[in-house]
Symmetry: C3
Subunit: 343 residues, 3 copies
Amino acid sequence: MSFFAFGSGIGIQSTEKKWIESYFPKPIISPSTSFISAISKLVNYQGGNQTIQLDSPTCHALESLCLKENMKELALHFAVMECSSQNRLMVILEKDLPLQNVTEAYLKLHLLSHRLIKPNQLNLDHLFTVLPNIAWTSHGPILPSELLEKQLLCRANGEILEVYSVDKFPKMSNYIVPKDIRIADTARIRLGAYVGSGTTIMHEGFINFNAGVEGPNMIEGRISAGVFVENNTDLGGGCSTMGTLSGGNSNLISVGKHCLIGANAGLGISLGDNCTIEAGLYLTAGAKVAYIHQNKKSIDQVKAHTLSGKNNLLFRRNSQTGKIECLSNEKPIALNDILHQNT
Amino acid sequence: MSFFAFGSGIGIQSTEKKWIESYFPKPIISPSTSFISAISKLVNYQGGNQTIQLDSPTCHALESLCLKENMKELALHFAVMECSSQNRLMVILEKDLPLQNVTEAYLKLHLLSHRLIKPNQLNLDHLFTVLPNIAWTSHGPILPSELLEKQLLCRANGEILEVYSVDKFPKMSNYIVPKDIRIADTARIRLGAYVGSGTTIMHEGFINFNAGVEGPNMIEGRISAGVFVENNTDLGGGCSTMGTLSGGNSNLISVGKHCLIGANAGLGISLGDNCTIEAGLYLTAGAKVAYIHQNKKSIDQVKAHTLSGKNNLLFRRNSQTGKIECLSNEKPIALNDILHQNT
Amino acid sequence: MSFFAFGSGIGIQSTEKKWIESYFPKPIISPSTSFISAISKLVNYQGGNQTIQLDSPTCHALESLCLKENMKELALHFAVMECSSQNRLMVILEKDLPLQNVTEAYLKLHLLSHRLIKPNQLNLDHLFTVLPNIAWTSHGPILPSELLEKQLLCRANGEILEVYSVDKFPKMSNYIVPKDIRIADTARIRLGAYVGSGTTIMHEGFINFNAGVEGPNMIEGRISAGVFVENNTDLGGGCSTMGTLSGGNSNLISVGKHCLIGANAGLGISLGDNCTIEAGLYLTAGAKVAYIHQNKKSIDQVKAHTLSGKNNLLFRRNSQTGKIECLSNEKPIALNDILHQNT
């Protein structure tokens, strides 16, 4: 018997006692069968995908169990949980099935942001359906239907309730900041983003859930849901990668190593390694491209998507003919090391 | 006798007892004459556009009045106001005249964000003159001239005063989050934005005051002051709509239903329904466009602004000739429903 | 003997008693020799570039000294410092040498944001090396290595620790908001930005450290490290200026007076005065440009960088040929005054 994932933490419930979000500081992927079976007795877990509410004595018993199993960090976690006044929970996922509820969704988003699994490898069916829309405020998450009253009461009391976001996804950094990264403006990285070690995300960078970068990378552009970028690649300021959730594109896009997508450029196909897109050029999948062979003599006219995923290409719009051209890339980029020492 | 608007709420005054902002949780447009005349006696309102400061006994009397008139929500509002320690006020606007002061400006901005009136239908003359510049902080709004001292005192006391924005306009979400919307990063939506039901505004979306969308819409681009977008339209990531406040454009821009403005594209003319602008193309009003008739044989060269507001157009830059072309749009977009169930 | 800079304020130390940031409300450039020599005795300063920790009696003595010297604001500053429970410090820089540590770096970034020195005039060697990466939170700056535990403890206690940014640079506005500016979203302006009087930075604007604008300006685009923009220039929404830290450009870019860089445009060369770049055009240094002489008859083909810094140029991509053209600019812009009265 094997298990897919485990998480334990603290969550917030609505006034009707329904989970509206949950926080798992130490999620585990593929937990050992012995660990789950030891836990099962304490929490009455009987298999399948379950969310279990925890009380203080159970947290205490879990702490003892972890100490016995030499899982020191998790033991410390349960020690803190034992003393908490908040709603505590455990989620055990036997299999990676379609999402049944909020807590399962949050656990899977944590798995991505904890770098335990890469984008596009999780079953996220029903994600938008199970996640409630939340007002993320200086008083924590609140259902939008309860916001107006709360705002007036705060005001009447001389305080302004700061509403940071109204969204189904929280920002990643309030749940986990993985090691050795920088995120200049955390409002732009959703929980469920995968941000690899050595990555610097500047103010104009954005990463959706189920998307990310291998690291190290310099990210000043937008990484749409489903898009993954390999290491040593630079996304210039304001550049766009086409996603599949809205707007008509249906092919998942990926970007290889040592690529440069110039500022304000855009990408509707995948790139292999060592590719460059000139600043300001939006390369859609349907664009006709003049493909200039390495001998610089013969030229083929092809659709951009036929070049998808190939290495060593440079795309530009010829500044005198207006033609989109593809050449052999002779100067692949190197990242500026000093910008990626994020320790 | 008729009245234009009514609002009551809580405001903040500078150390010199001048209003610097105000919050109206339940503004009313075209309040009934009987309601205003009942109120008039309690607050000594004598017609015209007035701002009246309220004390606790008056709030109590207003609560009773609202109960009698069966206005339960407003009665509850005055009950909370009665107990508040803050500066309370009422603004009655008999007519939609040029703005006289801060509180009138805030009431009109509330009318827009409460969806009580659409953009471009209010008299906003003198708006920039009457609104003071404010530092919006974790301790509430502060005049910039008082900020330096406050920052030092907080620091000396072990606290960092968080300064979120220094602007004449606050962010909408601290005043009102209208129903059934998502706003991923609330810092980018000003009070005075009109955000229709079913709208999702992603992290790269922006809406200025006196601008907005009908809803449902997917907004990942920028909606400048004065611009209005009808329903079922998708503004791609980083796209731009030209405004009239700066930069030289003088025609108000609108966008019809079922349009797609591609990522990083831009718009200097209005669009009718079912129009598409290719990702990355900035269509200025003065651009010469090759208008390709539906038979695909005859082509006219026209200025883009002559196509302003027409339906079923597709604009692109030909990837092999660099010409901006306009064709008949054969695949108008449909929004992804699941992204717009924001309840 | 002369001195380069002086600052005194409050800083935060890690659990290992190392400075992780510091705040200097009243930095001084080129302090007088008599002032420094009077101070030297009180703080045992012996020349060179030094950071000195201050206690309450020393702050008291410094207050007295400043009163005697008729430096009233600084006297008030030391009076507040005397009563503070926090770590207090003074940095004296005899010369503008490469940075030795965090506190020197913060003092130099303050000099820029206090408008005491312009970008590109400071020795910032070793800046990225001396600055630690910090999680900027609602509980103040925290080392990323200490964040996970702190987040769990807050959560267990019913509070969500808001993590605004994880970066080597803090946002400017938490340290200093210089006079007569607006910054719609302060998260996008780093400490070390130079923001001149009369400047309005809209939500899409961005200014890196060691970069800035003379003022008045309308800034809705991105100003990369090293870039400086003179007065009365408008950077349109989402426009890009190429920096030198990453992405391959090596020439510092500057922009003259009365320029307009259109929305979503980009700049890889410097501009003189009265220049315009059409919305959506990215002008890289290597682009071939058809330079149309004023008589409109003769045309030269030149590389864009050969036009760097010249006045009165208009750049556009011909909408019918796709050629990048440069013409004589006949309508230089004027800013909308009403948008720049930021008092």
